[in-house]
């Protein structure tokens, strides 16, 4: 019997070459099969998702980690890279949304009590599992056991949160505010500049540089996010797809989702009936996991030993996973759908999400030690 892990641990030069060729082959076959079975658009979105996964894992670009570095050590590099990527997407997305393109839609949502509270809880939970919306997918694909345990509960939470979403939004929300056109783009870029400037101002001198790796990652992520926007007609998101996975399983097991005004709506009924392989967010999510797995195998990263964590830590990961899912639906997006895509397509809720989630992160970082998630 072949020892799978042994092939990851001590691959010879020849077998390493074979493994890498096989990884590329598997990705290409998956994309081409989907194109043949469902259509070009779906194959392209899977390819874009794999690109996200390769970039996020390959260049170690994240959201939770850089926020932690900023809060604990005032190291702004990762946060600055996020802001650069958002600015680059905004420069393309704003003119497209202001033009004659009714087929395109931004990640626009209203600020409300539940939205702000959800973002705060999400920020705290993402520091507990050290993974955000995209980060949990990347970490699961690369074999991080905490994320693998958290992911199913993330899915259950996203489904449950969306099931209750309209009850939460009825608690009160402001009218929808979106920044549009050249002036909207100017305000957005100025806002990003101010946040970046503050992050640089409070940073120690030696930390005021963004490594080339993160700049390349920001550029690639921006290009992929624009590609996602152009191909799907909607911005990059994560948690909608996870909620849909939960809804599909629940529905197929016989549950009636018509009691939920959210899942009973026409758009979601259509998604429930269609295959996940034709759902844009699901495809990029699947691609992210596959891309991260490819990088992990490519680097022989799967040979890393599993950590020994206490029962309390595993329970914390499960609870945090559920909270990540539930709160991100209330927040009308996670770090990707609300922060990254919201701000880059002119939604004011993206900025509110950023402030609330950053405050939540501050709390979450301080909860890690008492919950046994740090030695």
């Amino acid at each position: 019997m072949t020892d799978i892990s042994a092939s990851f641990e001590t691959p010879s030069k020849g077998s390493r070459l074979f493994i890498r060729a096989a990884l590329i082959g598997v990705a290409l076959i998956a994309i081409l099969t989907l194109i043949a079975a469902a259509g070009v658009r779906y194959g392209l979105l899977l390819a874009i998702g794999i690109g996200f996964g390769l970039t996020l894992e390959g260049l170690r670009f994240g959201f939770a980690g850089p926020w932690r570095a900023m809060i604990l050590r005032r190291e702004p590099a990762g946060l600055l890279a996020q802001l650069i990527a958002i600015a680059l997407v905004a420069i393309v997305a704003f003119p497209l949304l202001s033009g004659d393109h009714p087929e395109l839609i931004g990640a626009h949502a209203a600020i409300g009590w539940a939205m702000v509270g959800g973002a705060f809880v999400f920020g705290a939970a993402m520091q507990l599992v050290l993974g955000c919306g995209s980060g949990t997918l990347v970490n699961a694909g690369s074999g991080n056991p905490v994320s693998v345990v958290a992911l199913p509960f993330f899915i259950i939470g996203a489904f449950t949160g969306s099931y209750h979403l309209l009850w939460w939004t009825e608690l009160g929300q402001l009218p929808l505010v979106t920044l549009q056109g050249t002036s909207g783009l100017g305000i957005t870029l100025l806002g990003l500049l101010i946040v970046g400037g503050v992050a640089l101002a409070v940073a120690p001198k030696q930390a005021r540089k963004v490594p080339r790796r993160l700049l390349v990652a920001a550029l690639l992520l921006a290009a992929l996010a624009v590609a996602n926007f152009v191909v799907a007609g909607q911005p990059w998101g994560v948690v909608y797809g996870l909620g849909l996975w939960g809804a599909k399983v629940t529905s197929a097991l016989g549950a009636n989702l018509s009691a939920s005004p959210y899942w009973a709506s026409a758009a979601h009924q259509e998604r429930l009936a269609a295959s996940l392989l034709t759902d844009y967010t699901s495809l990029t999510n699947l691609g992210i996991i596959l891309g991260a797995f490819i990088v992990a195998v490519w680097r022989s990263g799967l040979s890393a030993k599993l950590p020994s964590l206490s029962a309390k830590a595993w329970i914390a990961a499960i609870v945090a996973g559920f909270l990540l899912g539930y709160s991100s639906r209330l927040a009308l997006g996670c770090n990707v759908g609300a922060f990254f895509s919201g701000i880059s397509t002119g939604s004011l809720h993206g900025w509110a999400w950023f402030v609330a989630a950053f405050a939540g992160s501050w709390v979450g970082i301080r909860l890690r030690k008492p919950l046994g998630l740090e030695g």
Binding site: I4, E103, T169
Partner: protein, 62 residues
């Protein structure tokens, strides 16, 4: 196989297996895929309406 069970290979493989199972389950319970009714390759420039099935969408109250 001891190394497999004590390394990241185990959770990574479990993730891929679970996703594979989800897709098989989905293909058996959803509308069949049909490449001949597929939309245009790229949404930009097509005559389609935005689907609205994404994170920020809140369906209207009835």
């Amino acid at each position: 196989m001891t190394g497999f069970f004590t390394s990241r290979a185990l959770p990574a493989s479990a993730t891929l297996l679970a996703l594979g199972a989800l897709l098989v389950f989905d293909l058996q319970t959803s509308q069949p895929l049909n490449p001949y009714t597929a939309p245009a390759a790229i949404m930009l420039g097509s005559d389609e309406a935005a689907s609205g099935a994404f994170c920020a969408l809140v369906p209207p109250k009835k």
